[in-house]
């Protein structure tokens, strides 16, 4: 009996440690944004761990900076292009892979995986030089094209996993009944694998929203939000950076909490079986 309650207690201790680890940085973020600067690392050597006072002036000050809206729009634009492109190229590719002979499909997916493994930095430097020559530098489309590299292989895997759950007979039936290739894909497979497609869109969007390496090389003058934050951190404007951070974080956290039931490890099944 004692033994059992001991296990229980240690279970809750571990539970508590993980929860504190998870929420502490977010708590810090909010603390810096809303407590008067005098109690935060900005001006104090002994920042308080509890909210001592409340102010909105830090946030309002940061949102008065005009750059922030340009950065916000740019981040949005790029993220939507990336997520849209991921489905546009990824859906046909995943469907094709699911129909191919497993051996061939496997070697193709390994190839895609290798593309995903190549370090962003190694790719970013030559690409940024090329885009500079082409005059594409700083445009959202250039950045989206580069980010798509990280996103596309993963999207194909997620979609492949989702498509494999669609019964083969149904697809053959549709083809026999005279549905064309694209009609089969868009009226049969995509609706049946809705959850997987939605999750892929969301993940692609998030990966782009968060992406840093390509953005810093390809778009240093008209930054996306993450780069803007980095610029403000290096300048030492901690307060503004905290406001921007909250702007970056809130939409995505809300999305993830709402859609968390779609984000499951089973999504990676395609990569494991394929």
């Amino acid at each position: 009996m004692i033994n059992r309650s001991l296990t229980r207690i240690s279970f809750y201790i571990v539970f508590a440690i993980i929860m504190i680890y998870t929420f502490f940085p977010l708590y810090v973020l909010i603390l810096i944004a809303f407590t008067p600067p005098i109690h935060t690392p900005v001006a104090s050597l002994h920042p308080t761990l509890y909210p001592s006072g409340f102010t909105l002036s830090s946030l309002l000050g940061a949102f008065a900076i005009p750059e922030i809206f340009a950065a916000f729009t740019k981040s949005l634009e790029v993220a939507f292009i990336v997520a849209g492109l991921a489905l546009l190229i990824g859906v046909p590719a995943a469907y094709g892979l699911s129909r191919l002979h497993p051996k061939i499909a496997n070697s193709i997916s390994t190839l895609l995986f290798f593309a995903n493994m190549l370090p962003s930095i190694t790719i970013a430097i030559p690409i940024s030089v090329t885009f500079l020559k082409l005059g594409l530098s700083e445009t959202p489309i250039a950045l989206a094209l580069a980010q798509e590299l990280i996103v596309l292989p993963l999207s194909v895997f997620f979609l492949l996993g989702a498509f494999q759950s669609v019964p083969k007979d149904l697809i053959n039936q549709a083809r026999v009944d005279g549905a064309g290739l694209f009609r089969t894909i868009f009226t049969i497979i995509v609706p049946l694998a809705k959850a997987g497609v939605a999750a892929t869109f969301l993940l692609s969007w998030m990966l782009s929203w968060d992406e840093f390496t390509f953005a810093v090389f390809l778009s240093p003058a008209k930054p996306t939000l993450p780069i803007l934050i980095y610029i403000y951190i290096t300048r030492g404007s901690i307060l503004d950076a905290s406001a921007f951070s909250i702007l970056v974080t809130v939409p995505v956290v809300v999305l993830v909490v709402i859609l968390s039931r779609f984000l499951r490890g089973e999504l990676l099944q395609g990569g494991i079986n394929g």
Binding site: P47, P92, T122, P126, L149, T249, G265
Partner: protein, 267 residues
């Protein structure tokens, strides 16, 4: 046929530029096909960068797999608040890397970070988390921050893996007298191997690529930060060379993991 656009895409935008980086790394403005860039790289601290990159990668992976394993084990049990726990551990995954590192840079800033405030509560002395001379504390601060952001994806994969192991095996092993440790090493780990391989591929590779975190939080050079610094401060050839060294490491790692993956599949 349908796969073709995807293949063309990754070839044009990833294999081709990498090949170009390798090619360019052997060129200087006035000479061709030489090792000058690599020789010069040494004077910019290349050996340190390689050493730091390897250390950080290994430590960060170890910490992430440890925490993820704990989370996955907790999630196999039924308890009150499980739903809440499941969603909470996912949250860091959705927080942008730069935001995570921003929050942690305020936690670990020297002097006067929140970590020191926390230590003071327990009556301990503040330590210089990011002071240059405390190498291992620097590494610790970096891997704690990095793991915060990246453990969820590992936990997600391992949880999926754990759910495929039938509970009867554990019950049988328990009857046969296997303790918790031997159950973990003889049943959990072997059954998870293909999931571990996937998590290793996804995380291991990005761990070598750790960039934004290190830029803000780590006062030493990694291969990535070295390449970035050289890109913005000196001429291109040098940064190509640094990034190619990184590429070499990643290719070796990728081959090892791919072999491990195919072996665990054939078993």
């Amino acid at each position: 046929m349908l796969v073709l656009p995807a293949i063309v895409y990754v070839t044009a935008l990833s294999f081709y530029p990498s090949a170009e980086a390798v090619y360019q790394s052997f060129q200087t403005p006035n000479r061709h096909y030489v090792l000058t860039n690599y020789k010069e790289l040494v004077s910019f601290g290349a050996y340190n960068a390689i050493y730091n990159t390897v250390i950080v990668t290994i430590c960060a992976l170890a910490l992430q797999f440890f925490i993820a394993m704990v989370i996955a084990t907790i999630l196999t049990k039924e308890f009150r608040g499980k739903q809440f726990f499941q969603v909470s551990v996912l949250i860091p995954f959705s927080v942008a890397t730069i935001v995570a590192v921003y929050a942690f840079s305020n936690v670990f800033v020297t002097p006067g970070g929140y970590a020191d405030s926390l230590l003071e509560i327990f009556g301990l002395k503040p330590v210089g988390w990011t002071a240059y001379h405390n190498y291992w504390l620097n590494v610790l601060a970096l891997i704690i921050s990095d793991s915060w952001k990246n453990t969820p994806i590992v936990a997600l994969i391992l949880t999926a893996g754990m759910s495929t192991i039938p509970p009867e095996i554990y019950a049988a092993a328990k009857v046969d007298g296997a303790g918790p440790f031997s159950r973990f090493f003889r049943i959990t780990i072997p059954n998870l191997s293909s999931y571990i391989a996937i998590a290793m591929i996804i995380r291991g590779i990005s761990e070598f690529n750790i960039f934004a975190m290190a830029l803000v939080l780590f006062p030493h050079v990694l291969l990535t930060t070295l390449a970035y610094g050289l890109y913005s401060e000196t001429f291109l050839g040098l940064s190509y060379a640094a990034s190619v060294v990184l590429l070499g490491f990643i290719v070796v790692f990728a081959i090892i993991v791919t072999v491990y993956r195919s072996r665990s599949q054939s078993r």
